[in-house]
Amino acid sequence: MSSDRVQAPFGRRAAAVVDRAEYGPYVVLAVTDEEGPEPEAGQFYMLTAAERWGGGEGERPFLPRAFSVLRAIDGELQFLFHDVGPGTRRLCELQPGEELLIVGPLGIPFAPPREGRRLLLVGGGVGIAPLAILQDQHLAETVLLGFRDAEHAEAAALLTHARVATDDGSAGHGGVVIDLLAQELHLDAHREVYACGPPAMLEAVRQLCAEYEVPAQLALESGMACGFGACFGCVVHTRDGLIRLCVDGPVLDAGRLESVIGVGATAGAGRLTRPPIGRAWMASGGQA
């Protein structure tokens, strides 16, 4: 069967942590993976710490977590983590000598640019991860990265000749990375944009690219339980209806989306049917 992706070995395998580095608030782990194939940029892995992650004693984190591959060199994989909850916290605290359990590479990677267009990479926050391996695998001279502040922007060192924007102006351009994108597209629109970052950033990229009629490939996120199409949990809204982001993404052509905002959540879908009786104490503001 021919395939639209590098396929994963079937099963979960151990990968020893061989290096750990910090870039501002972000952590990069390098793990050995001799067995696995070389992933393509935009693919991801489902990761679990071998110890203290669900299993026999059943704590949360329980499900594996999805992470883009940051870099893959000589049987070594690198991942970039931002601590936002119990799973990323556990991964951030791992030290060399400890182990991950990994499944992957998974998902559809970035596609080569169309019509001889030059690559333009746009990343925000931890969303820069898939752009590093993209830059390793394809010639990409223009790299635009947005961060909250100078401390977060330390992670820009993971890519080469990146132009940086920070929200507070403490490093690079003071403002959003979209400002830089607008400048670039204004200079030369024969580009293909590859973007990953928070939904608001991706939506701005989508709108701007639509305006300039520039094709854009967006690496999206949604909550995932399995990563290989088993649970139907990771669906996102597209113009063709709901699709499983893990097997039909995570990279999607911007043209397939109505909007990136709320792509994996449906405004007002889950509403409490307001219970009928007055809740005196809540209404009072709850003074005890």
């Binding site: 079937f10 099963g11 329980f62 088993a230 889950g270």
Partner: protein
């Protein structure tokens, strides 16, 4: 040695729980290795309904201490789409195929049963009865009379084994199982997910697009064991036990409580080859001297 379940030859007693493994998607992710090392002794497909369904709006997942909650909402291609697109691919799997179906009325279930009756590649049917009968308003699998009436309606439509998938959200699952048995079911399977809910910690509104969802994983293991025990003691037909199985020891517990086969669900999300691992661990446990497994047997 192999084992017979409703006349179907199986290599070992571990199958998948419906809706927790998509063999077609897994083949895209893992390639032919999936077929060479297929983790289950039979493949149970996700619930098929008469009409295609999109499923519930996202978000559909919530993680719990020792488990998860889903509001997937039974997305599927519908009977015609399944038969045209999925069935030919699933027929090529190296194990027997069990098709899980659900209808919103007895006639709909009848239509599904009749449609699959003619497909030799389908070894058995599992009836998902965790939904309301739109004609009576009752959950088909929560009331023994509803279940019996459903089985009587569809039993004559096929000679294939019919497995009734019980809901744990019932006052007396053993009574439902007995009703299914009397009306001609060949087996029961349990438990389906427990009804639960979670609120978005930020907004205070329900997290799940479907408002409520189904709890699965280790968090439901104790409930599954109690229900499998109660049901097995009540019926003579075969029992497929499931709910929170993550190891051979969990599978053994369900078998000691009366299950003939054990299904692995949520654990496959954590470990795609969990089925093979559980089967190997189980086999290991039962090849130990019997005294270690039961005080007296």
């Amino acid at each position: 040695m192999s084992l017979r379940f409703c006349g179907i030859e199986l290599a070992h007693p571990i199958i998948n729980a419906s809706g927790t493994f998509d063999a077609i998607a897994a083949r895209r992710a893992f390639g032919d290795e999936l077929l060479e090392h297929f983790p289950f002794a039979a493949f149970v497909s996700k619930t098929v309904t008469v009409k295609p369904r999109q499923g519930n709006p996202p978000p559909r997942l919530w993680e719990l201490p020792g488990g998860m909650m889903n509001s997937i909402g039974l997305p599927n291609k519908g009977l015609a789409g399944y038969v045209e697109h999925d069935l030919p691919e699933l027929a090529r799997l190296p194990v027997p195929l069990i098709v899980n179906v659900m209808g919103f009325s007895r006639d709909e279930v009848g239509e599904l049963v009749r449609a699959f009756a003619e497909h030799d590649e389908v070894a058995a049917l599992e009836l998902n009865v965790s939904c309301p009968n739109v004609e009576t308003g009752l959950i088909m699998g929560a009331d023994p009379r509803e279940t019996a009436a459903l089985l009587e309606h569809v039993r004559g439509l096929t000679s294939k084994p019919l497995i009734v998938k019980l809901t744990p959200n019932a006052s007396d699952p053993a009574a439902v199982a007995r009703a299914a048995e009397s009306a001609g079911a060949d087996a029961v399977s349990l438990i389906n997910t427990l009804r639960g809910m979670a609120l978005d910690p930020r907004s205070g509104e329900p997290w799940l697009g479907g408002v409520s969802g189904g709890v699965s994983g280790p968090a439901v293991r104790a409930v599954a064991l109690a229900q499998v025990h109660a049901v097995s003691a009540a019926v003579d037909i075969a029992v497929v036990g499931m709910g929170g199985v993550g190891s051979g020891a969990d599978a053994r517990d369900l078998m000691l409580a009366g299950a003939d086969l054990v299904a692995v669900g949520t654990e496959s999300f954590r470990d795609p080859t969990a089925g093979s691992r559980v089967a190997a661990e189980l086999s290991e446990l039962f090849s130990e001297p019997a005294g270690d497994v039961r005080r007296d047997s």
